[in-house]
Amino acid sequence: MQYWINFKGVQSGPVDLDGMKQMGLTSAAYVWHEGLADWVKITQLPELQGCYVMEAPAVATRPAAVNGASEPQQPYQPQSQPYQPQDTPVTEPCPPTNLVWAIIATVLCCLPAGVVAIVYALKVTNKYREGDIEGAKRASETGAWWCIASIVLGIVSMPLSMLIMSPGAF
């Protein structure tokens, strides 16, 4: 596995486990590898034990992290990942996928609009993973409207259908 490292504001990588041991890292370092949504502290990855020495947190750590000095705002962009545009901060959390509401709408509301909302949930996750935060937000919003439409139309249309159907159809 290849790792990228952010240590004291300097980014480097990719390196493997043996390479990391040579770097003299401390517990203040951040690491990222493919598959991680964001940078994590080196202490959070159990497989990296032995690649760093523990360091007492400095008094200045907290304000520095708030200013973004020690926390990586822009992760290292390896060449193998051309789908993550340079200007996209991966630190932003994924917008809501509304998946739960889509599932509830599908299972409990009779208009199958919930299925559309599920498709939009998929779109949110995919776009977020491609680094397209704006696209993910748009898909999140559209999906939310499909959930609302599904639930509202379901409730509104149910009494109408009672006129047509005999009891016990739903």
């Binding site: 949504a37 964001d38 959390p93 994924c94 809501p96 996928t97 998946l99 739960v100 599932i103 509830i104 599908t106 299972v107 409990l108 509301c109 009779c110 208009l111 199958p112 919930g114 299925v115 599920i118 498709v119 949930a121 998929l122 949110v124 996750t125 995919n126 993973r129 379901g154 249309s157 149910m158 009494p159 109408l160 259908s161 009672m162 047509i164 159907m165 009891p167 016990g168 159809a169 739903f170």
Partner: protein, 124 residues
Amino acid sequence: MRRTLVIVVVLAVALVLAVIYYALDPSSSAVFPHCTFLAVTGYKCPGCGSQRAIHALLHGDVADAFRYNALLLIAIPWIGLCLYAESRRTRNPRLYARLNAPALIWTFLAVVLLWWLLRNIFDW
């Protein structure tokens, strides 16, 4: 504060609905709404049978609930888990991301569509 209010209201509504669905049987009582999709097209939707399934579940009859709407029964544990993840979306983004993985959503979508198709073919 607002969050607590929302949770209290949702729980109160759920409790009232549970009492109604426990006391009255949707398959014989006329007060329950019917599926619009079924009324208009003549085909069952993925949610058809959910009211009867909930009634059966509230009476502890899992087999009957499964017969009325198998998808609902399968979805309930997942809905619970997703709601939990949703409530901690910012505090635990890892769980959220894991539950919203494309492979999982694709699977659910396929299950829903297959269930929709098959229940109309075999009259489940």
